[in-house]
C-alpha cells in the first residue's frame, strides 16, 4: 500500500529537524514528493532495483566504517541517525519506477543469485512504510525532551492508518478509537519510562554493591587493590616531559575520606566540566605558570573511566569524550568516547586544587580508636610538630612493617587494621595507607585515603612508561602547611616484591602493544585522516554510484498516463465510455482481450435485461468510436450521455 501524499515528505522533515540536518531532509522530501507530481517514470527491471539496493549497501558499509573510525562507542547511534539518508536511493527508485513496487528478492544477495533455482512467484513489496519507519527510528535518537516525539509519532500513525480505516463504522467511531490508541500509548510510555528508571536504578545499585571494577564507585574495601595486583595487564601508557630513568610517579584516581568497617567512602558530588574544541579540551582547574606535561593512553570500561592523573591537573587536551566531571577531591571521570582515549595533561605537580579539610578528614571509627591511640602513644605523636609526626610515622612503618600480598584478615583482633598494627605487621599498600591516614588523624592532622597507580616501569619496546593492573596502589593524602600532599608509607621494596610475585610475559606485552598500535591507528591517525581527507572517500563511492548508474543507462523513461498532470493530447483523456466499462467490469462483466467493445456489449446484453440501457450503451459506444477514431468534438455529448446513465 502506498503512503498518503506528503506523508513521506513530512516524516523526512521531522527526521531532519530532530537530527539537525533539516536542509538535507528538505531536499530528500522535495525529491520524493515530486515523484507524486511528475509524470515521468522509469521502467526499472528487477536488476535495476538491485543496483539501487547495492548503492544503499555501499553507503551503509561506508557509514559503518566512518562511524567506527570516528567514534566507535557511538557507531550504532551514528548509523541509526543516517538510516533515511542511506536508504534514500531505494525509496527514490521505487517512487520513480513505473511499477511503484520492488521485488523482495532485490534485498537478498543469495536470492538474486539463485534466480535460476526459483519456482515460486515474484513477491513485490512497497517499501515506503518501511522507509517511514526508519525515519521515525532515526528521529528517536535526538532523544527530545517532553512529548514532542510521542505526539509526532502518534500523528504519523493516525495519518498512516487513515487510509485503511473501516468504512463500516462512522468516522466518529474511528476518531474515538484513535484517541483511545493515543491515550493508551501516552499512559503506556509514562509507565514504561517509570519502569525503565526503576530497573535502571536497581541495576546500578546491584553493580555498585557487587561489581568491583565499576570506575564510578564511591567507596572501596580493603583488599580490592590487593586483588588487582594479581594481574599484569597493561592499563595505562604514560609519558612525562620530565621523566628521567628510575623516576616513579603516583597517578591519582580516587580519594576517600570516611573510613568505616574496613571500607573507605567518598561523599563528594561531581560537577560537569564544559568541553571545548568539539569536546577535546577540558579546563579542569585554573591555569598556573610553568605547567608540566604528561600524555597518557587508556581504554574505557563500559564506556566510562576514572582518570589516573598526576597531582594538580589544570587542563586536559586532545581527549575526546562525551562527558567529563570532577569532584572536590580532584577525582576526574569521563563517559563516552572512542575505545582508546588519548589525554595530554597539564599539571602543577602538587595537590593545590584539592578541597580544604572537612570534619570527615579527621574522623576515626570507634572500633579503631583503641589500637590507634595505643600506637600514637607508643610513637609519642602528641607533642610533635606536623613534619616530625610524618617522619616518625614513615620511620615506624619502614622499620617495623613488611610488605606482603597475603591478606591475613582480622585474626583474633577486633579489626583487620588492629591485626595489621599489632600482630601481623605485614600487609599491602591499602593497610599501610589506611593505617597512616588514621594515625595522622589520631595525631590531629587531616588525612585522606587515595588510590591510583604507580608508574615506574619503562618499556623499551614502547618508549614510554607502562602501568599494569598490578601497579595499582593506595597512599595517603595529608594536609600539612595549609596544603594537601601525597604521603606514601608503603615500604619502597613493594615494587620489587610485586614484580617477583606476578611475572610478566614478553609475548603478552608484544600482543598488547600491537593491539594498542592498531587502536591508535584507528582512533588517532584514522580519525585525523578521516577529518582531513574524509570527503575524498566520497570519490570512490561516487565512482561506484556513477558506474552503477551508467550501467543503468538502459533504463527507459516512460510517461505514466494514469498519473495526474496537465495533458495536451485530448485523446489521452478518459472518455465517458471508459467509465461505463469500468463500472460494468466492477459489476462482474469483464471484457476479454479478444473482444471488441461491440461484441462485448452484445455478449453481456443477454445478462442485462434493460433494453433501453443497452441501446444507450451502444449509442455511447458509437460516440466513443467517433471520438476515438474520428473528430474529437463529440466528447462532450458522449460524457453527457454517460453521465445521464
Amino acid at each position: 500500500m502506498k503512503t498518503p501524499r506528503f506523508f513521506l515528505g513530512t516524516i523526512l522533515l521531522f527526521w531532519g529537524w530532530q537530527a539537525e540536518i533539516l536542509w538535507i531532509a528538505l531536499i530528500l522530501a522535495l525529491i520524493l514528493e515530486s515523484a507524486r507530481t511528475m509524470k515521468t517514470r522509469f521502467e526499472l527491471a528487477p536488476s535495476d532495483f538491485n543496483k539501487f539496493v547495492d548503492i544503499s549497501t555501499v553507503l551503509l558499509a561506508g557509514t559503518i566504517v566512518v562511524a567506527l573510525t570516528m567514534e566507535a562507542q557511538k557507531a550504532n547511534l551514528i548509523l541509526l541517525k543516517f538510516l533515511p539518508l542511506i536508504f534514500f536511493p531505494i525509496i527514490a527508485a521505487q517512487e520513480f519506477s513505473a511499477k511503484g513496487r520492488m521485488d523482495i528478492k532485490s534485498f537478498f544477495l543469495v536470492a538474486r543469485k539463485k534466480v535460476e533455482m526459483r519456482f515460486y512467484e515474484t513477491r513485490e513489496i512497497d517499501v515506503s512504510y518501511i522507509y517511514a519507519f526508519f525515519c521515525i527510528m532515526s528521529s528517536a535518537l535526538a532523544n527530545a525532551k517532553g512529548s514532542l516525539y510521542f505526539f509526532s509519532v502518534a500523528l504519523f500513525f493516525v495519518w498512516g492508518l487513515w487510509q485503511i480505516r473501516s468504512r463500516r463504522v462512522p468516522l466518529v467511531g474511528w476518531v474515538l478509537c484513535m484517541l483511545m490508541v493515543i491515550l493508551l500509548g501516552y499512559e503506556g510510555q509514562t509507565a514504561v519510562r517509570a519502569i525503565g528508571r526503576t530497573i535502571s536504578n536497581r541495576i546500578m545499585s546491584y553493580y555498585a554493591r557487587y561489581h568491583t571494577i565499576d570506575p564510578f564507585k564511591t567507596y572501596t574495601a580493603l583488599g580490592e587493590i590487593g586483588d588487582l595486583k594479581f594481574s599484569d595487564e597493561i592499563v595505562l601508557r604514560v609519558s612525562f616531559d620530565d621523566y628521567v630513568p628510575g623516576k616513579t610517579y603516583l597517578l591519582h584516581s580516587s580519594t576517600y575520606n570516611r573510613f568505616s568497617a574496613s571500607n573507605w567512602f567518598a561523599k563528594s558530588g561531581f560537577e560537569r566540566i564544559e568541553g571545548k574544541n568539539n569536546n577535546t579540551f577540558w579546563q579542569v582547574n585554573p591555569s598556573a605558570d610553568n605547567p608540566l606535561k604528561m600524555t597518557q593512553y587508556f581504554r574505557l570500561q563500559k564506556g566510562k573511566a576514572v582518570l589516573s592523573l598526576p597531582p594538580g591537573v589544570m587542563d586536559i587536551s586532545e581527549m575526546k569524550a562525551g562527558e567529563c566531571e570532577k569532584n572536590a577531591m580532584q577525582v576526574i571521570r569521563i563517559e563516552d568516547g572512542p575505545s582508546l582515549i588519548k589525554a595530554v595533561v597539564s599539571y602543577t605537580g602538587s595537590s593545590v586544587y584539592d578541597a580544604l579539610p572537612e570534619p570527615d578528614d579527621m574522623f576515626i571509627p570507634i572500633k579503631e580508636r583503641p589500637s590507634l591511640e595505643a600506637t600514637a602513644q607508643k610513637l609519642g605523636l602528641e607533642n610533635k610538630s606536623e613534619e616530625e609526626i610524618l617522619k616518625t610515622i614513615y620511620a615506624f612503618f619502614l622499620s617495623e612493617f613488611t610488605y606482603s600480598l597475603d591478606l591475613k584478615g582480622k585474626g583474633k583482633s577486633q579489626t583487620p587494621l588492629e591485626n595489621f598494627l599489632f600482630n601481623t605487621k605485614s600487609g599491602h599498600c591499602e593497610f599501610f595507607a589506611s593505617a597512616t591516614a588514621l594515625l595522622l588523624r589520631q595525631a590531629g592532622i587531616p588525612a585522606r585515603y587515595a588510590t591510583g597507580f604507580i608508574a615506574h616501569e619503562y618499556s623499551t619496546l614502547e618508549g614510554r612508561l607502562i602501568v599494569r593492573l598490578r601497579d595499582a596502589h593506595a597512599w595517603t593524602k595529608v594536609f600539612v602547611n595549609g596544603q594537601w600532599r601525597n604521603f606514601d608509607t608503603t615500604p619502597p621494596s613493594f615494587l620489587n616484591l610485586d614484580s617477583e610475585k606476578i611475572p610478566t610475559y614478553f609475548l603478552e606485552d608484544i600482543l598488547s602493544f600491537f593491539g594498542f598500535k592498531l587502536s591508535q591507528l584507528r582512533h588517532e591517525t584514522g580519525a585525523k585522516l578521516m577529518e582531513t581527507y574524509g570527503l575524498w572517500l566520497t570519490l570512490p563511492l561516487g565512482l561506484i554510484l556513477f558506474l552503477r548508474l551508467r550501467k543503468a543507462g538502459q533504463i527507459k523513461r516512460i510517461k505514466d498516463i494514469s498519473r495526474p498532470g496537465k495533458m495536451k493530447m485530448r485523446k489521452e483523456k478518459p472518455t465517458g465510455f471508459y467509465r461505463i466499462e469500468e463500472i460494468l467490469v466492477q459489476k462482474g462483466f469483464p471484457r476479454y482481450p479478444y473482444e471488441t467493445y461491440a461484441t462485448w456489449l452484445k455478449r453481456i446484453s443477454r445478462h442485462l435485461d434493460d433494453k433501453d440501457m443497452m441501446d444507450h450503451f451502444f449509442l455511447v459506444l458509437e460516440q466513443h468510436n467517433q471520438w476515438r477514431f474520428g473528430k474529437p468534438e463529440p466528447l462532450n455529448t458522449q460524457k453527457a450521455l454517460a453521465n445521464n446513465w
Binding site: M1, L77, L80, E116, M117, F119, Y120, E121, Y129, I130, F133, I136, M137, A140, L141, A142, N143, A144, Y149, F150, V153, A154, F157, G160, L161, I164, R165, S166, R167, R168, V169, G173, W174, C177, M178, M180, V181, I182, L183, L184, G185, Y186, G188, Q189, V192, R193, G196, R197, S200, V585, Q586, K587, G588, F589, P590, Y592
Partner: protein
C-alpha cells in the same frame, strides 16, 4: 527418519500458523507488529532514545484493534462461482463470484478469500519426491528439505489466489466481483469454499466467516499452436471398426449375410430372414479403414529434469489440441503406475478428455519407456503414424524408435534438451539413427518446431 518427521511436523505447524496469521492479520497489522518488535528491541535504552514511545503507540494500536476485532461476525450470503471451463498454465484466468446479501443489514469493507484444498503434502510425499533444483542446492537446503516442502505446497496449490476486496453489499443485493490469477502448475484446483474477512475499525486484525462450497477447475498444460506433423500416413485396416464408437458396431457399408454365431450383437440380426426361415442370420458390414495416430509420451524423467517433462507434456497437449479429431483417431500412450493408453477422435471422446489426462500426468521414475513395448507391439499394426515426445535420448528410446521403424510406421520424433549444450550432445547421439529426429531445446519449442 526422526529428523525428517520432526522437520515435516515443524513445516506443517508453521504452515498452519502462517496461514492463520495471513487470514487474521492485515498487511498493515503485520507492519505495526514488526514496528512494535523492532522498537521494543532498539528502544531498550530509554536514556539514549525515545523509541520506546513509538513502541507504546504501536502496542496500544495493536491492543485496541485486537479488542475491537473480538466482536463476532456472522453473515448470511449466497455465493456462486462463475468459473471458466478450463485454465491454462501461465495464462491469466478471470473468474467471477456472485454474492447475494440475504440479510437486511448492509455489509461494508469485506474481503473475500478463496479456500482451496490443503496443499500440504504427506510425509511420504515429502520424503520420496524431489524438487527440480534439489541437485544444485547446498547441503543445508537439501538436509532441511525446506525447498522441497515449499515446492510441493506450491505445486499442490497450483496457483495463488488473491483476496478480493468486495464493494458494499446492500441488503438483498447481488454483486458480481471479478478476479484473476495465473496458474503455475497443471492439474485440478479444488475450491473448498470461501472465507469472508471483516477487518476491524482500525484495519489491523480480521474476523472470518467461512462458507463451504466444493468446486474444481482444471488447469491444462501450456499449449503451443503447432501444426500437426505431416506423417504421409495412409488409412489402415481396422477389423471390426472402432468399438464404442458413437454408432455402435462396424461401418454402415453392408457386405453379406451369414449364420448367427454366439456373441454376435442382437442389433445385427436380419429379422426378415428370421421371420421367413426361422434361422438366425446376421448382417455383415465392411470393416473400417481410417487414420490412427499414436502419441507416445516419455514420462521417465529424474526430478531435476522437471522442466523438460513439463515441456514434453506441453508439446503432447499441443498436438492433442491440434490434430482434428473428426477424421482421425489419436492414441495417447504413456506409463504412470501402469501403462496408459487412451484414444480420442471419431466419437471416442474429445480431445478435452485427453487434455484432462495430460493435465494430471506425473513423471515416472521407477520404470523405463520399454514398459510401453508390449502395448506398442500390438498397437503398431493399426497405427498410421506415431508422434513420439522423448525427454532424452537413451538406449530405451533407440529401441522404441527401432520398433516403430520396423513396423514401417512413419514417425515424428521429438527429443527435448534442457539447454543448448545438451541439445548439441543429443544431436550428436541421434546422428546414428535412421529416423529423422528433431531435437528441441526447452523454452524454444514454438520457434524450433514451427520452422520444420
Amino acid at each position: 527418519m526422526m529428523k525428517a518427521r520432526f522437520l515435516y511436523r515443524s513445516y506443517f505447524f508453521f504452515h498452519s500458523v502462517s496461514f492463520w496469521l495471513k487470514r487474521h492479520i492485515t498487511s498493515a497489522g503485520a507492519m505495526i507488529m514488526v514496528i512494535f518488535i523492532l522498537t521494543a528491541i532498539f528502544g531498550l535504552n530509554m536514556f539514549k532514545t525515545t523509541l520506546y514511545q513509538a513502541m507504546t503507540v504501536s502496542f496500544s494500536a495493536l491492543c485496541v484493534s485486537a479488542a475491537l476485532s473480538l466482536k463476532p461476525f456472522r453473515l448470511k450470503v449466497r455465493v456462486k462461482h462463475i468459473l471458466p471451463p478450463y485454465a491454462t498454465v501461465g495464462e491469466k484466468v478471470s473468474y467471477s463470484v456472485e454474492i447475494t446479501n440475504l440479510t437486511l443489514k448492509p455489509q461494508k469493507g469485506l474481503i473475500l478469500y478463496e479456500d482451496t484444498a490443503d496443499p500440504r503434502p504427506d510425509l511420504k510425499t515429502l520424503l520420496t519426491k524431489k524438487e527440480p533444483y534439489e541437485h544444485i542446492r547446498n547441503a543445508w537446503d537439501r538436509k532441511t528439505l525446506y525447498y522441497r516442502w515449499a515446492w510441493l505446497v506450491l505445486k499442490a496449490g497450483k496457483a495463488s489466489l488473491k483476496p478480493i476486496k468486495l464493494p458494499d453489499l446492500l441488503p438483498g443485493e447481488t454483486i458480481r466481483v471479478t478476479s484473476d490469477f495465473v496458474p503455475n502448475y497443471r492439474g485440478y484446483i479444488h475450491f473448498t469454499g470461501v472465507t469472508f474477512a471483516r477487518p476491524d475499525i482500525l484495519g489491523l486484525f480480521m474476523r472470518l466467516f467461512c462458507i463451504k462450497k466444493t468446486e474444481k477447475l482444471l488447469v491444462l498444460p501450456k499449449r503451443y499452436s503447432l501444426e500437426p506433423p505431416d506423417l504421409q500416413s495412409k488409412r489402415q485396416y481396422h477389423p471390426g471398426g472402432v468399438n464404442l464408437a458413437s454408432s455402435i458396431g462396424n461401418s454402415d457399408e453392408f457386405m453379406s449375410l451369414r449364420y448367427y454365431r454366439p456373441g454376435d450383437p442382437m442389433r445385427n440380426i436380419h429379422w426378415r430372414t428370421f421371420a421367413r426361415t426361422g434361422e438366425l442370420v446376421i448382417k455383415e458390414f465392411e470393416d473400417e479403414f481410417f487414420v490412427r495416430y499414436a502419441l507416445i509420451l516419455d514420462t521417465f524423467v529424474s526430478p531435476e529434469r522437471e522442466a523438460v517433462f513439463e515441456e514434453a507434456v506441453s508439446i503432447a497437449a499441443s498436438y492433442v489440441a491440434s490434430i482434428r479429431s473428426h477424421d482421425s483417431i489419436l492414441d495417447l500412450m504413456f506409463v504412470g503406475h501402469k501403462i496408459y493408453s487412451f484414444s480420442s477422435g471419431r466419437g471416442l471422446g474429445g480431445s478435452e478428455k485427453m487434455l484432462e489426462i495430460l493435465s494430471c500426468v506425473e513423471p515416472c521414475q521407477d520404470k523405463t519407456i520399454l514398459e510401453l513395448r508390449p502395448a506398442l507391439e500390438s498397437g503398431l499394426k493399426q497405427i498410421s503414424g506415431a508422434i513420439c515426445v522423448f525427454t532424452g535420448w537413451e538406449k530405451e528410446h533407440e529401441e522404441i524408435t527401432r520398433m516403430i521403424k520396423e513396423a514401417l510406421v512413419p514417425a515424428f520424433i521429438i527429443v527435448l534438451a534442457a539447454d543448448a549444450s545438451k541439445k548439441e550432445d543429443i544431436i550428436e547421439k541421434t546422428r546414428r539413427s535412421d529416423q529423422k529426429i528433431r531435437v528441441v531445446q526447452i523454452g524454444k519449442v514454438l520457434e524450433e518446431l514451427s520452422t520444420l
